[in-house]
């Protein structure tokens, strides 16, 4: 294999790259997001400076079904997102993510620094209940339930689509081969080409079970704020460096 071909490879292994070049198109992506209030001191510890966590102590616990994702296939994801501010601007920080498919784990970690681990999340409609579960290393670590399409979201699909354009960010850490940090950055991105096909709000409940390697329960549920369910198409493009710890910290 020649050097010019090596430099054109999107990812490892050279014999069959895990993921192609972006951007990545998602069709019929289905979300269940349960917003809850947690302990503010624990939230502060979970958010890297210079991000500032929201003053209300809110956390978003999410399940996402992705049946048709270019380059990645068919998979499900679950995780923890913390609304924050960066230099006063609102931004969502992804704190933990669990999914059942390797290419989006590798691409997610290596391109954008999504903090992804392999686990078994599931989002399904079970009779009258939209139900999310997450199993890690054989044990259940999260169970979320939401009443099924009780009410359309205020503002409808337009407001939901606008909400999806909010800037999101991750802490990207990639070690060098000697163990020292090679990349240590806050990385930001914005979803594009968003079409929301339906959006609902309903009562919800969330149960988090302590587990050392999937510690969603480290941000305990003090009060449920509400549940949101929506389906849409969107594009995940490349992103930009917001803050470089190796240069600025």
């Amino acid at each position: 294999m020649k050097v010019e071909d090596i430099l054109k490879l999107p990812s490892m292994p050279a014999a069959s790259p895990s993921y192609p070049m972006g951007p990545y198109r998602f069709v019929n992506r289905e979300y269940m997001i349960i917003t809850y209030e947690t302990d503010k001191d624990l939230l502060r510890a979970a958010v890297p400076e210079p991000l500032v966590p929201n003053e209300d102590g809110h956390v978003l616990y999410e399940w996402i079904r992705m049946p048709d994702s270019s380059g990645f296939g068919d998979y499900t994801e679950s995780g923890v997102v913390i609304p924050c501010t960066y230099k006063g601007e609102p931004i969502n920080f992804t704190a933990q993510m669990y999914l059942d498919d390797e290419p989006p784990i590798s691409a997610g970690r290596e391109i954008w620094g999504f903090p992804k681990k392999y686990a078994h999340p599931k989002l399904e409609v079970a009779s009258d209940t939209l139900t999310g579960t997450l199993h890690y290393a054989g044990q259940m670590v999260a169970m979320g339930t939401m009443a099924y399409k009780h009410q359309e979201s205020p503002g409808g699909i337009e407001a939901a689509a606008k909400g999806m354009t909010k800037t999101q960010c991750n802490l990207k850490i990639i070690p060098d081969v000697d163990g020292s940090p090679k990349i240590c950055q806050l990385v930001a991105y914005n979803l594009t080409d968003i079409t929301i096909k339906g959006t609902w709000v309903s009562p919800a409940r969330l149960h988090l079970i302590p587990h050392v390697n999937a510690p969603a329960a480290d941000l305990p549920v003090k009060r449920i704020v509400g549940g949101k369910h929506f389906i849409g198409d969107l594009t995940l493009p490349h992103g930009r460096v917001l803050f470089d710890y190796l240069k600025e910290a």
């Binding site: 292994p13 014999a15 958010v47 890297p48 970690r109 992804k116 681990k117 990207k172 390697n213």
Partner: protein, 248 residues
């Protein structure tokens, strides 16, 4: 978390790093290595410059890793290609499949081990040491070896140590956030504290089934040379950059 602590994290995510700092010690690591002749043109196409092919005998190996520090218990399978770098005999790791996330993420991010998630299994059934490899629900490799037929050949241990001491080479590719390459390197890894507890040679058979996302069969089996079974303790240390494609 303050900025200083962020810089000292071993890996993502902040709240529970996927893997700790190395080195990583492995106990009772078991290998079945099946060596076979393949097509030299296919080898040349897969081997990144400036590595040079070193013969036309490649290998598919299964590993059972019951006790890996920081990683836990898991299985692995790999396709390896002998090569030379500036005259030194090395082994290029072309593809690896594992069933556990911390070694997958740590393997890719630290050393550039070309790992994907699948279902490798190495086991003894009746009189046969048997390796299977499934990817995306389909069988893609099937290897079998006779069980400890040459149990009294005392030269085996020294031969196993020589094989395990060979420098492994990986092609580490990590994109930048804009999609351009941030890291494009050949990385060298040399295991340390190798303590071989048992080593056997014997007859083996290997079947590779074409599958696009785990294309072991792209190096077709022309003729099986033989099988090797090792049980060993060894330590995986950090590596070193052998060649940097983005410099010079």
């Amino acid at each position: 978390m303050n900025k200083h602590d962020v810089k000292s994290l071993s890996s993502m995510p902040l709240q529970s790093p996927t893997y700790p700092r190395g080195p990583f010690k492995f106990f009772d690591r078991q290998y079945m290595i099946i060596r076979y002749k393949t097509d030299p043109v296919a080898i040349r196409a897969l081997l990144p410059e400036p590595l040079e092919p070193d013969g036309d005998v490649v290998a598919v190996q299964w590993l059972d890793l019951p006790d890996g520090e920081g990683f836990g218990a898991y299985g692995a399978a790999a396709q390896t290609i002998p090569c030379t770098y500036k005259g030194e005999h090395c082994v290029f790791i072309s593809q690896m499949i594992v069933d556990n996330c911390p070694p997958l993420a740590g393997g890719r991010e630290i050393w550039g081990y070309p790992m994907k998630h699948g279902k490798p299994l190495l086991h003894v059934t009746g009189d046969t040491l048997s390796g299977q490899l499934d990817y995306a629900g389909q069988r893609i490799a099937n290897g079998t070896m006779v069980y400890k037929h040459d149990a009294f050949d005392h030269g085996n241990i020294a031969h196993a140590e020589e094989i395990l001491n060979r420098t492994q080479v990986t092609l580490k590719l990590i994109p930048d956030i804009d999609g351009r390459p941030a890291i494009a390197q050949l990385v060298a890894v040399k295991f340390t504290n190798i303590h071989v507890k048992g080593a056997w040679n014997g007859k083996a058979r290997l079947e590779l089934i074409p599958s696009v996302n785990a294309p072991f069969a792209d190096l077709p089996v022309h003729h099986v040379v033989g099988g090797q079974q090792f049980v060993t303790d060894m330590t995986l240390p950090y590596g070193r950059v052998l060649h940097d494609y983005l410099v010079g």
